[in-house]
Every structure is written in structure tokens, then in C-alpha cells.
């Protein structure tokens, strides 16, 4: 069975999506067990796949039995093996944590919601695992369409934000499709490895240059890289907590993965960094993304929106790191995909718990939360420390690699931006800790008023959150192993 893992990764969630969809009309109580079972199988298969890759090297799976480039093939190497495990585990932890809030917010549409949820996970897993440039586009659209649906089911402004996301997302996906078309017209192939084999004689061609730039712009639109980020904050803020805690950690990170895959596999670093002299411009854009994200986050008086601007800044980290054009920067970017997915999940789950209990996420709703929800806030402290970059949480280590990469590349602007955004994060999060620590101001001035009792979110919401918080520290402690055994092999030898 183990040679079928790559197919199972996508087929199990896909078939279970249809089962959930039918169960939603027949017996609603079946939906949740099906989705948890399916995602558990996916986590199991992805870990099995990563172990196989570590042991034997690249796993290739021919869909339909047709060898590439005739058919579609799945390539699993160290890079996407790692990302697959992250996507699968984030999706599983989040669905368990979100069960209560889904039932609270959509009592009669839970079935369709779970269906969209697992279809989105299918799309993201498919994007990561595929080795075919066009297949990636189809799955991109599945992830995008489900995303529009999930994000639109929120507050009253959600449909408008989601429609804006739809316009931007469609332009992005179409640009990617056009880029693939440019590659197809000059090479005649759609398989990533095959294109990479055919491209070197064409490096000087204008069509290849255009294909690269168009694909990049498309992917940047999808990941909300500055200055194309305008859709992200509103879309994520107005969505329901269950949807935003799935989409915020995963979608942008998967798009960063696609960008790295484009650079490393299809176009190869020689073309991206040596033939084109774009590094500097992109890294400076990343610097602006980080600085603007941090400043805009500082201006917000609303926890969830503040976090979305931090997401924008984090995208700057990863894009900048990948475009530094050296090994340390790329390592930092890949490590940050893992870390950022986990820490964004952590803080968005905290927001989910707060919304579940307090029904709001503006700063004035947060008073007295340390006493009221100690476990949730404890996890929030860990997540915040990780975003700031305090050892031993994992955020410190990826930032460390990024700074080393910036030093090696001699790009001091990027280094300064990283440090600046860490300092701003300190301000941001300590301001929230302060608000949460103090009790709400009472009108009676009386000291005899009893303190508000502890009112923690349900166990199914707190336990996954605490697991994520522990993972944040564990990943930090085992960073060396992850880098030496996985990421080292994910980056081609040519990149020093």
C-alpha cells in the first residue's frame, strides 16, 4: 500500500468530500467523524511519505499508469514531503478545534461547510504534491473557489471582501495559466521536470523570461505579496473563525511553496538568480512588505485584522528569503513555511476561542482574558513569542537563518527590516498582553466586587490549541534535525 501514498493523499479527502456532502442531506451527525477520519488518514499517509522520501529519495507516482511527460506524475521530494505533513496536520488540528464554532455559526449548513473545508485541503495537498504545471493550475482553482465560499460565509461585509479576493485571485490564477502557456509554446511540455530539462537552451528567449515573470506575478497576487496584498486583510478578517484559521495558515504558505518550486525546479536557480538580475528588486519589495505590514498592524485596534497584517509581513520574510539567492536564505524561507503555518494557526485558533466565548475581537473585548481564559492566553503567549522570534520557539530559528542569509548576500536592508518587524511585534503583542492582563474597568470603584470566574473555551477547542503551542516549541528545539535531514536535501546542490 505504501507505494500508493501519493494517490491516497488526494483521493481520500476527495472521496470523503463527496461522502460528507451526501451525509449532509441524510444524517448530519456523520459529517464530523468522516472528515476527522479522512484527515487522519491523510496525516498518516503524508508522514509515511516523508519517511519514505527520507529513506529512499524522490517518490514518483504515475497517475493513470502513463509515464511522464505523456501523463501526469506526482513527484514527492524533501521539499514537498515536508510541506505535505504541515498542511495535513494543520488541517486536522484545525477541524477538531473548529467543530464547536462551526456548529455554533452554521447550525444547518455544517455539512456543506465541512465539504468545502475538505475540498480546500484536497486542493492544497494536490498543489503541493503535483509534478505537472497544468495540474497545479486546476488544483489552484479548487483551493481558490472553496476559499471564496468559505471566506464569504462570515460577517455582513464578508461577501464584498470575498468578491474582491475573487477578482484578484482570478487574475493571479490566469497569469499563472498564461505563464504555463508560454512555457508550453516554447517547450511543448507540461511536466515540471521535463520543462526544466528542455529549458536551458532557451534561457535567452524573451518568451521564457516573460513566462517566469508572469508566473511570479500570478503567484504573488495569490499570496498577497506587497503591493498586491490589498485583498487579504479584509477577506481574512470578516471570515468566520473556522475558515480563517484554515486559510490564513495554509493558503499563503502553499503559494510560497509554489514560488519556491517554480524557482528551484522549473526555472532552476541558475536562471532565476544568475540569468535574471531581479534579486535585488524583489528583496527590496519584500523589505517594503515587511515594513508596511508591521506599520499597518500597529495602526489596527482590532486583534484579527492586526494578525492579518502580520501575515502580510511574514510573506515578505519568505519571499525575501527565497530571493536572497543563497542557501541560508532559502533554508530560512522553507523553514519559515513550516513555522509560520504553525504559529499563524496558533494565533488564529486563539482568536477563534476568544470569538467563541467573548463574541468579538476588537481590543476592548479582550480585557481580563488572562484570568478568564488562562489556557487560551497561555497558548497565545507562546504563539506571540514565536512571531516575535524568542528562543526556544521555532520563529527564532527561521529568522536566524534569514538574517544569516541576508548577511551572506550583503543585503543589510533586509536584515534591518527583519529586526524592525521583530521590534514592532514586541510592541504589538505586549500591548495586547497588557490589555488582556488587566480586568475590565468597573463603574462601581468597589474593591469588594468578586473577580470574573474562569470561563475557558470547551475542551475540544483548547486541547488542539495547546498541542499546537507545544509543537511550536518542539519544532524550535528540533530545528537542527529538520534542517540537516530534510531541508538540506530540498535545495539543489548548485545553490550555495
Amino acid at each position: 500500500m505504501s507505494q500508493q501514498y501519493p494517490a491516497l493523499l488526494v483521493i481520500v479527502p476527495l472521496l470523503s468530500a463527496f461522502a460528507i456532502s451526501i451525509a449532509g442531506w441524510v444524517n448530519k451527525r456523520l459529517c464530523f467523524p468522516i472528515i476527522v477520519t479522512a484527515l487522519s488518514v491523510v496525516v498518516y499517509a503524508s508522514i509515511g511519505l516523508l519517511l519514505t522520501v527520507l529513506e529512499k529519495g524522490v517518490v514518483i507516482y504515475h497517475l493513470g499508469g502513463w509515464p511522464p511527460p505523456v501523463g501526469i506524475a506526482y513527484y514527492v521530494d524533501h521539499l514537498n514531503g515536508l510541506v505535505l505533513v504541515v498542511v495535513a496536520s494543520v488541517a486536522l488540528l484545525n477541524v477538531i478545534a473548529a467543530k464547536k464554532s462551526i456548529e455554533q455559526e452554521f447550525p444547518d449548513k455544517a455539512g456543506p461547510f465541512y465539504t468545502l473545508y475538505i475540498l480546500m485541503v484536497t486542493g492544497l495537498l494536490g498543489i503541493v504534491v503535483t509534478g505537472d504545471a497544468f495540474n497545479l493550475y486546476v488544483l489552484l482553482e479548487i483551493a481558490a473557489l472553496t476559499g471564496y465560499g468559505l471566506l464569504a460565509m462570515g460577517e455582513e461585509r464578508a461577501p464584498l471582501s470575498s468578491l474582491n479576493y475573487l477578482y484578484m485571485g482570478t487574475i493571479g490564477a490566469c497569469f499563472y495559466l498564461l505563464g504555463v502557456g508560454y512555457l508550453y509554446i516554447v517547450t511543448g511540455s507540461l511536466n515540471m521536470v521535463d520543462i526544466a530539462r528542455l529549458l536551458p537552451p532557451l534561457y535567452q528567449s524573451r518568451a521564457v523570461l516573460a513566462a517566469f515573470i508572469i508566473c511570479m506575478v500570478g503567484v504573488w497576487l495569490k499570496m498577497a505579496f506587497f503591493p498586491l496584498h490589498s485583498w487579504l486583510p479584509n477577506a481574512y478578517t470578516h471570515a468566520t473563525s473556522a475558515a480563517s484559521s484554515l486559510i490564513a495558515p495554509l493558503v499563503t504558505k502553499v503559494m510560497v511553496y509554489v514560488m519556491i518550486r517554480l524557482i528551484l525546479t522549473i526555472f532552476t536557480p541558475e536562471f532565476a538568480f544568475a540569468t535574471l538580475a531581479l534579486n535585488n528588486i524583489v528583496v527590496w519589495l519584500a523589505v517594503i512588505a515587511i515594513v508596511m505590514g508591521a506599520i499597518l498592524a500597529l495602526a489596527e485596534r482590532n486583534l484579527k485584522k492586526m494578525l492579518t497584517f502580520i501575515v502580510v509581513a511574514e510573506i515578505g520574510y519568505m519571499v525575501g528569503g527565497a530571493w536572497l539567492g543563497n542557501r541560508a536564505g532559502m533554508t530560512g524561507a522553507i523553514l519559515h513555511i513550516v513555522n509560520d503555518a504553525l504559529m499563524t494557526l496558533c494565533v488564529f485558533l486563539v482568536v477563534g476561542n476568544i470569538v467563541y466565548k467573548v463574541k468579538g475581537y476588537a481590543f476592548e473585548n479582550l480585557q481580563g482574558l488572562f484570568r478568564k481564559m488562562p489556557f487560551t492566553m497561555g497558548a497565545f503567549v507562546v504563539g506571540a513569542m514565536s512571531i516575535i522570534g524568542v528562543p526556544p520557539t521555532c520563529g527564532f530559528f527561521s529568522k536566524w537563518y534569514l538574517i544569516v542569509g541576508a548577511l551572506q548576500a550583503g543585503h543589510y536592508g533586509f536584515m534591518a527590516a527583519l529586526i524592525f518587524s521583530s521590534l514592532v511585534s514586541v510592541v504589538l503583542f505586549f500591548r495586547i498582553f497588557e490589555i488582556c492582563y488587566y480586568e475590565p474597568f468597573s463603574d462601581h470603584h468597589g474593591h469588594d466586587q468578586p473577580p470574573e470566574p474562569m470561563d475557558e473555551a470547551p475542551l475540544t477547542m483548547v486541547v488542539p490549541l495547546l498541542i499546537v503551542a507545544v509543537i511550536l516549541i518542539l519544532v524550535g528545539l528540533y530545528t537542527g534535525d529538520i534542517v540537516n535531514h530534510i531541508i538540506k536535501f530540498a535545495i539543489p546542490e548548485g545553490l550555495v
Binding site: 483521493i11 472521496l15 463527496f18 497517475l63 505523456v70 475540498l119 497544468f134 471564496y148 518568451a207 513566462a211
Partner: protein, 275 residues
């Protein structure tokens, strides 16, 4: 915004024109796209799958995995329209209107009152346009032929232009024609919401299930040649049959999704009279 739009458009357009200078000329038989992979498909489609329509064999077999997700995209769109628009249950309106079919008299009932089920009365909305006998009769006559043609297009996709997507759209259009020429309630009587919503995932499951069956028979996902042992034919014919099976699944999924999207959008999720 207009000036910014114009600047972005001109820059992008100029960049694309710059890149197009390196492209092969139109209809050039020696372009890489026409000489690298496509000859394989054209020359081997008959040998590998015994399907004379190369587009069908490429769509449902060589790149069948793409097509499975394409069907999933359709299903997703139907589901998103449903989840965004459908107002389930909802409050009962203050008054409801019934029309006596023979006399044309409209009866207005207050909340809580009901009219006994009978052929003589039909439920109507506040805005009601009288039905046109010519349109109704004409469409009723056409619908069976449209459906027959839809089935032909699905079944004949192997050797002529057509297949599950095209046939499914035609089948869906026949029900939508009924909804337009009569009203949405009449169409819903022929095809209930629950039927549509369950058939749609079943259609996609037929596709994915065919692939999973191959996987259970010990080969890779969607490798239809494994069906030979189930169908008692040679592997090449098995591929042809496998393609037909998934086309049926696609047909069902596309037909029901078209109806599902139309029902939700035309009535804004209220499932009343519709357009």
C-alpha cells in the same frame, strides 16, 4: 482609478507584445508545441485506448486526473452557490398567493392558513407574469428531443465531438428551459433539490470511484487497463470502457450542477417562482 488602470494595462500589454515576438508564427506545423508531445497522442491514441477522438482519450485517460479535478471544480461551484445563497427554512411570509388555474382568480391567504392540495390551485409570488401558451407548449415539445440529444452527445463522445461535459450541459439546459418557460416550481417538481444535491456528488464519485477501483485492483489510480479483469475484455478495450464510465459520471455531475446553480441564482436561494 481609470488612469491607474490604463497605465497597468498598457505596461502589461507592452510586455506581452515584447514577449510574443519570440513565439512561432500562427499555425506553424514545426512549433515545439506541435512536434514534441502531441504526435504521441495522435499516433498512439487508437493503439492505447481504441478511441478515435484524440481529445476524448487525452481528456479522460492520458490527462484523466486533471479532468477529475475539473469535475470537482464544477461540483465546488454548485456547492458554493448553494451555501452562499440558499435560505433554508426561513420565516413564513405574511401572506401567500394562490391562483385558481381555470378562472384565473387569485386567492390571498394570511399566515398560518393553507389551501388543500389540489390540481386547481397553483402557488404564485407577488410578481407574477401570466404564462404564454405558445412558449409553454413549444418548450414542452422540445425538451424530450434536447434530452435525447444530450444523451447522444455523452454516449458518442468517443468518435465525434462531445462527451460528458457537453452532454451534461445540454441535459442541464433542458431542465433549465423548463424552469424558464414554466416556472421554477414546475422544474423543482421534476427534479427536487435533494435529488440534485445528492446526484451531483454521486456523479463526481463515479469518476473518482472508477479511479479508486483501479487502485484497489492493484495498479495506479485511474489506470483503466485494470478494469479488464472485471469487464472481461482486453486492456485496450477496458480503457475505452473506463473512459465511457467516467464520461457518464461527468455528465451527471455537470447536469445537476447546472441545475443547482440556476436554481440558487435565479431565485436568490428562495426556491420560489424563479425568474
Amino acid at each position: 482609478m481609470k488612469i491607474i488602470g490604463l497605465i497597468i494595462t498598457i505596461i502589461t500589454g507592452a510586455f506581452l507584445v515584447y514577449a510574443a515576438a519570440d513565439f512561432p508564427a500562427w499555425a506553424d506545423p514545426n512549433s515545439p508545441a506541435s512536434t514534441y508531445l502531441s504526435p504521441y497522442f495522435i499516433e498512439n491514441s487508437m493503439k492505447d485506448t481504441s478511441v478515435p477522438n484524440f481529445v476524448t482519450s487525452l481528456l479522460a485517460d492520458y490527462r484523466g486526473f486533471d479532468t477529475m479535478f475539473e469535475t470537482t471544480v464544477i461540483f465546488t461551484a454548485g456547492l458554493v452557490c448553494f451555501i452562499l445563497l440558499r435560505i433554508s427554512g426561513g420565516k413564513e411570509p405574511e401572506t401567500s398567493h394562490y391562483r385558481h388555474v381555470l378562472t384565473g382568480v387569485t386567492v390571498t391567504l394570511k399566515k398560518g392558513h393553507k389551501i388543500p392540495e389540489s390540481e386547481d390551485f397553483e402557488r404564485i409570488d407577488d410578481l407574477w407574469t401570466p404564462p404564454d401558451l405558445i412558449i409553454k407548449t413549444g418548450c414542452r415539445l422540445m425538451i424530450p428531443f434536447i434530452q435525447l440529444f444530450g444523451l447522444y452527445v455523452i454516449a458518442h463522445g468517443h468518435s465525434s465531438p462531445g462527451g460528458g461535459f457537453q452532454g451534461g450541459v445540454i441535459l442541464g439546459a433542458s431542465i433549465i428551459l423548463l424552469a424558464i418557460s414554466h416556472d421554477l416550481r414546475t422544474a423543482l417538481e421534476k427534479m427536487r433539490e435533494k435529488v440534485v444535491a445528492i446526484l451531483c456528488p454521486i456523479g463526481v464519485s463515479i469518476y473518482a470511484g472508477t479511479g479508486a477501483l483501479c487502485l484497489l485492483l492493484g495498479v495506479n489510480f485511474l489506470d483503466y487497463s485494470a478494469l479488464a479483469s472485471v469487464l472481461h475484455v482486453d486492456p485496450i478495450a477496458a480503457r475505452s470502457h473506463g473512459i465511457f464510465m467516467v464520461e457518464i459520471g461527468v455528465g451527471i455531475a455537470v447536469m445537476t450542477t447546472m441545475i443547482w446553480i440556476y436554481n440558487n441564482i435565479s431565485s436568490a436561494g428562495k426556491y420560489n417562482q424563479g425568474l
